[in-house]
C-alpha cells in the first residue's frame, strides 16, 4: 500500500532528471555566462558589447519584424484552412495529409528548398527567363536586397511552419461540440456570426497554444535565414551563433540567448493575459 504512493514519482523521475540535465542546467549556465566576465566576476560587459555591436540593432529589428509578419500570417492562413477542412466531408483526410506534409521537413531543408528557387540559377530565374520577362539572371538574395531576403524568409517560414498551427487548430476545432454552432444557427446566426461569436471564442485555448508556440519558434528563427541570406539578414539567434563560433565569445552569445529568452517570456505572458479564457472554472 505504502509503496504505491511513490510509484508516480519514481515513474516521472527519469524525465525530470533528463529535463533538468538538458534544459534547466544549460539555461542556468547560459544565464550565468551572460553576466560573468572572463575572470568570473559579475558584469554587464557582455550585454554592453552586444548592444554596441553593429549587427545588434538590425538583428533585433529583423527578428521582431519577422515574428510580427510571420505569426499572424500563419495563424490566419491556418485558421482559414482549418475552417475549410471542417466544411468538407469527402476527401477530408487527403487534404489533411497534404497540408501537413511540411511538418516532416527540417527548417534547414526548407531554407535550401527556397534557396533553390531564389538563387541566381534557381527556378525563379529560369522561369522568368523562360517566359521572357528578364534577359539576365537576377540576383535576388544579396546584401543589396534585404527586402527580398526578408520576403523569401517569410515565404519559406510560412510554407514550412503553418502546418503546425494548422494541426493545433484542427485538433482544437474538433474538440468543440457541434451543438454550439447548431444552437447559434437555430437562433439566427449567419455563418460569419457563428464564426466570430461561437467558434472563435471557443477556439481560444488552441489559438493561445498555437500563438505561443509559433511566436517562440519565430523568435528563434535561424536555419532558414542562414540558408537564404547568411548574415545579410541578421537575426538574434544567428548572432548568438556567430559570436559563439566565429568570434569564440560565449559570453556575448549567451547575452543574445538571454535576450531571446526575455522576449519569449514577455510574449508568452502577454498571450496568457490577453487571451485569458473568460469562463471561470472548468467547463
Amino acid at each position: 500500500m505504502r509503496s504505491e504512493r511513490y510509484i508516480p514519482y519514481v515513474l516521472i523521475l527519469p524525465s525530470v532528471l533528463f529535463l533538468l540535465f538538458l534544459f534547466a542546467w544549460p539555461l542556468l549556465e547560459a544565464l550565468l555566462l551572460s553576466v560573468r566576465g572572463s575572470g568570473g566576476q559579475w558584469t554587464l560587459e557582455n550585454f554592453q558589447r552586444m548592444a554596441a555591436d553593429l549587427y545588434f540593432k538590425d538583428a533585433l529589428k529583423y527578428t521582431l519584424l519577422l515574428t510580427v509578419v510571420i505569426v499572424p500570417l500563419q495563424v490566419v492562413m491556418a485558421l482559414g484552412m482549418a475552417m475549410l477542412l471542417g466544411g468538407i466531408s469527402r476527401g477530408r483526410d487527403l487534404f489533411l495529409y497534404v497540408w501537413t506534409i511540411p511538418l516532416g521537413i527540417s527548417d534547414l531543408a526548407a531554407g535550401i528548398v527556397w534557396l533553390a528557387i531564389f538563387t541566381e540559377r534557381g527556378y525563379l530565374n529560369s522561369f522568368l527567363q523562360g517566359i521572357g520577362v528578364i534577359q539576365q539572371p537576377q540576383l535576388w538574395l544579396s546584401y543589396e536586397t534585404p527586402t527580398m531576403i526578408f520576403v523569401a524568409v517569410v515565404a519559406a517560414e510560412v510554407w514550412r511552419a503553418t502546418a503546425i498551427v494548422f494541426v493545433i487548430l484542427v485538433a482544437g476545432l474538433q474538440l468543440i461540440p457541434k451543438e454550439y454552432s447548431e444552437a447559434a444557427e437555430v437562433f439566427g446566426a449567419t455563418p460569419w456570426q457563428r464564426f466570430w461569436k461561437v467558434t472563435l471564442p471557443l477556439l481560444m485555448p488552441s489559438l493561445q497554444v498555437a500563438l505561443i508556440l509559433r511566436t517562440i519558434l519565430a523568435l528563434e528563427v535561424f536555419a532558414v535565414v542562414v540558408a537564404l541570406g547568411g548574415r545579410n539578414l541578421p537575426v538574434l539567434a544567428g548572432e548568438a551563433y556567430y559570436w559563439y563560433n566565429a568570434y569564440q565569445n560565449p559570453g556575448v552569445a549567451a547575452a543574445y540567448s538571454v535576450i531571446i529568452l526575455g522576449i519569449s517570456v514577455v510574449a508568452t505572458m502577454l498571450y496568457l493575459r490577453l487571451m485569458r479564457s473568460k469562463r471561470e472554472g472548468a467547463a
Binding site: P177, E179, Y180, E182, A183, A184, E185, V186, F187, G188, A189, T190, Q193, V198, P201, L202, M204, S277, K278, R279, E280, G281, A282, A283
Partner: protein, 353 residues
C-alpha cells in the same frame, strides 16, 4: 402565426432507419407533445424540423412556407436542445440574449425579454454567471429561457425539464403551459414523461421505432390506445391485455360475457383494460371473473394488486381501505364502457368500438 407540418419524413443513419415516413401536423397555437421510448426518433424529428438534419425524403412546412430546403436560421424557430447547448463562453445573460442579439433587438427590449425569461425560469439571480458555475438543472433552465426570450412563433423543446427535481418540474410545467398559451406559441415538446405529456398536451403524438403510432388528444390516447404498445407505454401501471376466447360475438371470461363490437379476427381476442377500470369484490358476483392476489402494494391513494388470472398476470388498483391479502381470490368486473378490443396477432386495436 404558424403551424408545423411534416410529410412522409424518412431518415436513415448509415443502415439504421431512424424515421419511417413520419407525418404530423401541429396546428397554429397548438401544444403537441411527442412521447415515446428512448431511441424512437423524437430528437431526430425535431432536428429535421429545425433544419439541423436533412431527411432523405419528405417535406417540412412552417406556416405556409415550405422550409425543407431552408437553413435553420431562415426557419424562424426557437429550440431547447436535449443537451442544452448553452454557450460556455457567455454569461447566463448573454446566453439568454443570444437570439435577440442576432435579431438586432433594441437594448430596452433585449433587457426586458431576458429578465422576463430569466424570472420565469427562476434564474434571475444567476445572470452574471458562466455556465460552468451552474448545476445541470440551472443550465437546462438557461436553455429554456434562451428559447423563450426570442418570443418565437414556433417553439421546439427537447425534454426541457428532464433534469429538474420533481417539485420544480411540476411548477415549471404549469408556468410553461400558462406562458405558451398566453403567447399563443405553436409548440412541439418532446418528453419521456407520460404524466408531463398528459398534463401539457393539446394532442399527444406517440412514437415508436421511427413511426408515429397514435396522434390524438391525451384522454383518447389514454383510453383508446391504438395498439398494445401505446396501451403499455402510457399509464402507470400499464394497461392490462387479457387473451380471451371468442364465442360468436361474445368474449367469454368465466361467468363474464362481453359483447365484441366488431367481428373478431380469430378464435381469440385481446381485451385491454386499465387497472383502475377493474372493480374488485370480496364475494362472488354475477358476470365476473376471479383472480388470485399475488402481491399487494400500498401506494398511498390506492392499493396496487398483482393478480393471476389463469396463466396470465394482471394489475388492478383498489381503494386504500380495501381489505385484501396476498393469496386471496377476488371477483372482478370491468367497466363495460372502458374496454378496448385488440387483435392478438398484430396488437392493433379492432376498428371502431
Amino acid at each position: 402565426m404558424a403551424s408545423i407540418r411534416v410529410e412522409n419524413i424518412e431518415k436513415t443513419f448509415g443502415k439504421f432507419k431512424a424515421l419511417n415516413g413520419v407525418s404530423l401536423e401541429v396546428r397554429d397555437q397548438e401544444f403537441v407533445v411527442l412521447l415515446g421510448p428512448s431511441g424512437c426518433g423524437k430528437t431526430t424529428l425535431l432536428r429535421i424540423i429545425a433544419g439541423l438534419e436533412q431527411a432523405e425524403k419528405g417535406r417540412v412546412w412552417i406556416g405556409d412556407r415550405d422550409v425543407t430546403e431552408l437553413p435553420p436560421r431562415a426557419r424562424k424557430i426557437a429550440m431547447v436542445f436535449q443537451n442544452y447547448a448553452v454557450f460556455p463562453h457567455l454569461t447566463v445573460f448573454e446566453n439568454i440574449a443570444f437570439g435577440l442579439r442576432m435579431q438586432k433587438a433594441t437594448p430596452e427590449k433585449l433587457r426586458a425579454n431576458v429578465e422576463r425569461a430569466a424570472t420565469l425560469m427562476h434564474i434571475e439571480n444567476l445572470l452574471e454567471r458562466y455556465p460552468a458555475q451552474l448545476s445541470g438543472g440551472q443550465r437546462q433552465r438557461v436553455a429554456v429561457a434562451r428559447a423563450l426570450a426570442v418570443e418565437p412563433e414556433v417553439l421546439l423543446m427537447d425534454e426541457p425539464l428532464s433534469n429538474l427535481d420533481a417539485l420544480l418540474r411540476l411548477e415549471m410545467r404549469a408556468e410553461l403551459k400558462r406562458l405558451l398559451a398566453e403567447s399563443r406559441t405553436t409548440t412541439l415538446y418532446v418528453t419521456h414523461d407520460q404524466v408531463e405529456a398528459m398534463s401539457l398536451a393539446d394532442r399527444i403524438a406517440v412514437m415508436n421505432t421511427g413511426y408515429v403510432v397514435q396522434y390524438d388528444e391525451p384522454m383518447k390516447v389514454y383510453q383508446e390506445p391504438a395498439n398494445t404498445f401505446v396501451g403499455g407505454f402510457i399509464g402507470s401501471p400499464p394497461m392490462n391485455f387479457l387473451k380471451v376466447r371468442v364465442e360468436g360475438q361474445q368474449a367469454q371470461l368465466q361467468s363474464l360475457s362481453l359483447k365484441i363490437p366488431t367481428p373478431a379476427p380469430g378464435p381469440e381476442v385481446l381485451l385491454g383494460v386499465r387497472p383502475e377500470d377493474l372493480e374488485a369484490y370480496l364475494e362472488p358476483q354475477p358476470q365476473s371473473f376471479t383472480a388470485e392476489v399475488l402481491v399487494v402494494e400500498p401506494l398511498g391513494p390506492h392499493l396496487l394488486l398483482t393478480l393471476r388470472f389463469g396463466q396470465q398476470l394482471l394489475k388492478a388498483t383498489v381503494p386504500p381501505d380495501f381489505r385484501v391479502r396476498a393469496g386471496q381470490t377476488l371477483w372482478f368486473k370491468p367497466q363495460p364502457d372502458r374496454l378496448r378490443w385488440l387483435d392478438p396477432g398484430s396488437g392493433q386495436a379492432l376498428a371502431a368500438r
